[in-house]
Symmetry: C2
Subunit: 385 residues, 2 copies
């Protein structure tokens, strides 16, 4: 049996699952709130963002999925208890930094399979969640994510002439975008320019401090509903139309350090399932934990040809609006939270509730979430209306 | 909106998902093997148990779910890498001691929703996985599971006249059953009688050492397939026909210490979805981490009336064959492994591959998995043919 047999387009075309609510807690590096307090803040924010009588929905929540890399157990049941939610399906989904979108895909499946009608997904994580790739002996002493981000950066610069300045422009754009997002870590702080990035502290050649995201405490919530329920209570449901996910293991095994193969594979699946082409995407959140990763994402998600990502940053090639809320570089990185926060922003854009940073006439969105040196990636395509 | 609106019988009647493979590693308390080595042993055992050309299936596995309470992250991707499996859906499901059946329900949903055709679920956990209910301030200093098991035991004895001897008979039965299971911790050790239980070390009044399960390292694997795939490659697929799950929070909140309300609720859902009645069940694995819990399970799953569990242990009331492989008391408790190991035994029984302990003419099986003082429970109904 080949992979083609089992990985074909077998997704249930009738499975309509919608996002009907979103919420965030402020990303931070304080010790003011516990992880559960942050999680609850994001749920409260979600309910307050709903225009319809959303609070009465709470008793109808029949699935509660947490997304966290926290080392403690039973987080989903503890959170359910704190929120006063008595759901059927209650568990945690974890796959490092891609836990968020993977938890959303789990919730999609519970609804599509008929086991749930209304699913709450809550991502929360702390600034000290483990990020070292301790399991990967293939890396030798290069266990920090910055090590492999540096490798990918060097290779892209050598192969395609991507410049140090182009990398810096990713950070500049996303830090400016974060100034419109009052839940972002860098909200209310100073804007930066290319020189600031180039003059920031050296981390691993060629990366500087501002090329790297900052680990944060954070929390984000998404509410998903079956088609009938979504249509009956929500004016602008956002539909999950495409899903892709791919794992190429847990070790660096790319023979080609210019492509994230898991991203390419996940995107291909999500485009096929949704019948959406890259050029149709209006707004996207991509996994920019390092500047090079946004450039690779432009290429791996099909927004530009391989090698042209640097030109897209300069605005020389037209691409979707990317990381409109600041992305990981501007919002901060909170492992299990990140994917959910990405979905929150695309949902807001597609519901036309993004305020000052609203992208006009946007209808099709994409979320790209990744883990551990690109060894796992998940992509979803969202469509409004 | 009431709970009835969203928790109705909305399960997809066309979603046929089958178990086509099962495997176990030996439950142990040694430090001879790492958790990943045990996990791989259970997968190798699974492939060797298959009569058809199962090894060629490996490349078709498109979902790999781990079930573990281990504090480390990215276990599913690391295991996928070690096994040489490049799946789409790769993540960990965790809900303390009920992680196992919850991971199986997740895999069911990925297949039923069309995102997977062939899903491997691997449970593995260590003997030192945290079992203290640290989060539950309602318990005061009574944070060890033995504390609440003692409360439930005392109340059942007072209310229904359940005897110390009846409790002991659960341990005796399951330890004897374990002597037929070469993967059980107590395999190859001496059988025990009621006096041995009553004379074992006092733990918490009225519980003795042999009323309590022993924490083990262990691993177990289950392979699930979509209907078409299952029928094309497996002679005796076991169908997941009923699913139930319930969470009543994370704190002791039963007003009635004689019923596990989450178990009652989960069983009700699973019976309704499968159109199976308790009296139709031939073989069951129930969550016997303490002797009282098997007696409560008889009652909460509807095998006997409330209060009659003790009589069933004595054989005075006819019930299904329960914990035929030794259960948790005989096999050992390995948090994330336990639910998967329970499914392994019911699958073997329904495939008529249980060797010396085969229950004759069995066709309908049930698995009952529970967590943290009964605050969460999951039940599945399995049918052969």
């Amino acid at each position: 049996m080949s992979n083609a047999d089992v990985n074909g387009t077998n997704a249930n075309a009738n499975a309509n699952v919608a996002i009907i609510g979103y919420g965030l807690a402020r990303f931070n590096r304080e010790i003011k709130y516990s992880l559960y307090e942050l999680a609850i803040q994001s749920v409260v924010d979600m309910f307050s963002n709903m225009e319809y009588d959303a609070r009465s929905l709470k008793d109808g929540i029949d699935a509660l999925i947490t997304s966290t890399t926290d080392s403690s157990a039973y987080t989903a049941n503890i959170l359910a208890d704190m929120l006063g939610i008595r759901a059927r399906i209650v568990n945690r989904v974890e796959s490092m930094c891609s836990s968020g979108v993977d938890a959303l895909i789990a919730a999609y499946s519970y609804i599509a399979s008929g086991l749930s009608n209304l699913a709450l997904v809550v991502g929360f994580d702390s600034s000290n969640s483990g990020m070292l790739l301790d399991w990967d002996v293939a890396r030798g002493d290069m266990r920090h994510p910055a090590h492999w981000a540096a490798l990918y950066s060097m290779k892209h610069m050598q192969e395609f002439g991507t410049s140090r300045e182009q990398l810096a422009m990713v950070a500049v754009k996303n830090r400016i975008n974060a100034l419109t997002n009052d839940k972002a870590y860098f909200y209310g702080k100073d804007a930066i320019d290319v020189d600031d990035v180039l003059n920031s502290k050296p981390i691993v050649e060629p990366l500087r401090l501002y090329d790297c995201s900052i680990a944060c405490n954070g929390a984000a919530s998404i509410l998903l509903a079956s088609a009938d329920l979504a249509k009956s209570i929500c004016k602008e449901p956002v539909w999950i139309k495409g899903i892709g996910s791919s794992s190429i293991g847990a070790s660096i095994n790319s023979i080609d350090l210019t492509t994230m193969h898991a991203s390419v594979d996940a995107a291909r699946q999500a485009y096929r399932m949704s019948n959406v082409k890259p050029e149709m995407v209006d707004v996207a959140q991509v996994h920019d934990s390092f500047t090079i990763l946004e450039i690779l994402a432009y290429e791996d998600l099909g927004f530009v040809e391989k090698g042209k990502g640097g030109y897209a940053v300069e605005g020389k090639i037209s691409i979707p609006a990317v990381n409109t809320d600041g992305g990981i570089l501007g919002r901060g990185h909170s492992s299990g939270t990140t994917g959910i926060a990405q979905v929150v922003e695309v949902t807001r854009q597609l519901m036309h509730k993004a305020g000052d940073r609203q992208i006009k006439d946007c209808r099709i969105g994409l979320v790209h979430n990744m883990a551990a040196a690109g060894t796992h990636a998940s992509v979803i395509v969202l469509i409004q209306g």
